[in-house]
């Protein structure tokens, strides 16, 4: 146990998180702490619940038990007299602003240009002026290497370019934590690199990140810690080298070997 724990309270702390879809239990008792500036990758076979966990943090799903906190704030609920009362949608919206989410399918707004996509949240949620939002938008598009694509609609961009715009869009309101939900899984192999490059730069710049991915080498390279999920539980957690080269549990060994064979 680290003695600095009391000094550096985690940015995000999940405790005993459970999530069910009907009869099916997707998450059963997830514990995770994400420190400021830390990059954690969530790995695991499909259906292990790693994407669902990300969506619970961002309140796109409501958890059935346990607790997720951002700093001292309970996410999605208000704790009154020891009972968790679900928050009204408006207050959930306010909590979502702490997080920037990048989706597997990009989910760019097709009726808006790249620049408008990046500015939309700033204009609508942060109520910034057009000039203010566009300045930030152009800066971010430049940062992901797409300054020249500002006026293009998503349909005219490649998958890799779309995902980079989506990253810029998620960064626009200066979120404290970036959540990546399999950001390269929908991309053609030759386009994966450009997206990973942008994510690597973000990690190097000190951004706090939680990444669901199948890119083992990337996870090993950028992550401070790796969590291996299986059937809704974290079966192994630790430094990437240790988890990915010398896993302890049988489940983790099987998964790592399967990924190596690919």
């Amino acid at each position: 146990m680290s003695t600095t724990e009391t000094v550096r309270a985690p940015l995000v702390r999940a405790r005993d998180v459970e999530k069910r879809f009907g009869e099916h239990t997707v998450l059963s008792g997830i514990d995770l702490e994400l420190q400021e500036g830390q990059v954690i990758s969530l790995l695991g076979p499909s259906g292990s619940g790693k994407s669902t966990f990300l969506r619970c943090i961002n309140l796109l799903e409501q958890i059935d038990s346990g607790e997720i906190r951002y700093r001292d704030e309970v996410l999605g609920f208000e704790l009154r007299d020891g009972v968790y009362h679900p928050l009204a949608e408006k207050r959930k919206s306010r909590q979502r602003v702490h997080f920037g989410m990048v989706f597997q399918q990009f989910n760019l707004f097709p009726h808006l240009t790249a620049l408008e996509n990046v500015c939309e949240g700033l204009r609508v949620v942060q109520r910034q002026s057009r000039a203010e939002a566009e300045e930030r938008g152009r800066f971010l598009l430049d940062r992901v290497g797409l300054a020249d694509k500002a006026g293009q609609y998503p349909a005219m961009l490649s998958g890799g370019q779309q995902q980079r715009v989506a990253i810029a869009r998620a960064l626009a309101p200066r979120p404290a934590v970036m959540l990546f939900d399999e950001p390269t899984s929908a991309l053609d192999p030759e386009l994966v690199g450009e997206v990973l490059d942008v994510m690597r730069e973000l990690a190097d710049a000190g951004m706090t990140m939680l990444i669901v991915t199948h890119e083992m080498n990337f996870a090993r390279e950028v992550s401070d810690a790796v969590a291996l999920l299986d059937q809704g539980r974290i079966v192994e957690f630790g430094a990437p080298e240790q988890v990915l080269t010398d896993p302890q549990s049988e489940r983790a060994k099987a998964f790592v070997n399967a990924m190596k064979r690919k």
Partner: protein
């Protein structure tokens, strides 16, 4: 006729021939006999129709010309336009209410929406208009209060339901049901990820609806809405059953006296044709306006 094929093409070039020696490929144009024949027949049929329109004696084009801009006709036309525009606005609003009911998380709202749509689809428009117009016969006083309890106050139905309010109310109820379903289809056509992306950046439900879902639905919704508006425009002719003097009622009143049935119906058709054309032009402009980002690269 031109030769149909030239299959004896130039000899194939040697594999790996010099880069400069490029072979020319020549393609024959197929002769489409059936295309020419069916085209010619169609032209003949069209000419026949024109002949019928121009030389048929009973069209009485002189009568058509006489009545086309007749003051009574123009008043009727004005009434048709006023009724169409009014009902278009109320129908679009009613459609929003219906779509909201149908997509509500409240099961009571959903049921009300479903039953309403079911009834409107089942009852012929003509019958509904008559029901509303003769509402006084069923319900002489409109009570204000709670069901099964004595009303606080009541209004005589006949003062509320005139020919024009019956017409507007009836057409609004009819349009509202169909437009509501069109809206719902439009909203459902937007992928779920769009709403999630909007919500995840902190937009409230209504912000996401207004900024992200609605603009994308509009593109899908315009063609069926255009259809619905044109249907409405012609449906206004149904209100003749309750005596509202729109274009068709006016035409009927005139030919009831003069017995010039056909030319006066032609007058009505010409006006319907003109207004429909204008509406279609407007629709095309809207489609262009909201197609941004969805067409090709030359957008």
């Amino acid at each position: 006729m031109a030769p149909t094929s030239e299959s004896t093409a130039a000899p194939a070039p040697a594999v790996g021939a010099a880069a400069g020696a490029r072979r020319e490929y020549r393609f024959a144009r197929p002769v489409r006999w059936s295309w020419w024949i069916s085209g010619a027949i169609s032209v003949l049929v069209l000419l026949g129709v024109v002949d019928f329109l121009v030389n048929g004696r009973n069209w009485q084009w002189d009568v058509v010309a006489e009545y086309l801009f007749h003051p009574d006709i123009l008043v009727g036309l004005g009434n048709t336009i006023v009724l169409t525009v009014t009902c278009a606005i109320t129908g679009l609003l009613m459609g929003g209410v219906v779509a909201y009911l149908r997509m509500s998380s409240n099961p009571v709202f959903r049921a009300i929406g479903a039953v309403y749509i079911w009834l409107i689809r089942a009852i012929p428009a003509l019958v509904l208009l008559l029901f509303i117009f003769f509402l006084a016969a069923l319900l002489p006083q409109i009570p204000i209060g709670l069901p099964f309890l004595p009303p606080f106050a009541s209004l005589p139905t006949n003062t509320l339901i005139s020919q024009s309010t019956a017409a507007i109310l009836g057409l609004t109820l009819i349009q509202g049901a169909y437009i509501g379903e069109i809206y719902r289809g439009g909203i459902l056509s937007v992928p779920r990820g769009q709403l999630e992306a909007a919500r995840s950046m902190g937009m409230t439900h209504w912000q996401a609806m207004r900024r992200i879902i609605a603009p994308q639905s509009i593109r899908v919704v315009i063609p069926p809405l255009g259809n619905e508006m044109i249907t409405l425009f012609k449906n206004t002719s149904l209100v003749f059953v309750i005596g509202y003097t729109e274009l068709l009622t006016t035409v009927q009143l005139i030919y009831g006296e003069t017995y010039q049935t056909i030319p006066l119906l032609v007058v009505a058709c010409i006006w319907y044709l003109a207004l429909t054309s204008i509406a279609m032009l407007g629709q095309r402009q809207l489609e262009k306006r909201f197609g941004k980002g969805f067409r090709g690269v030359d957008d």
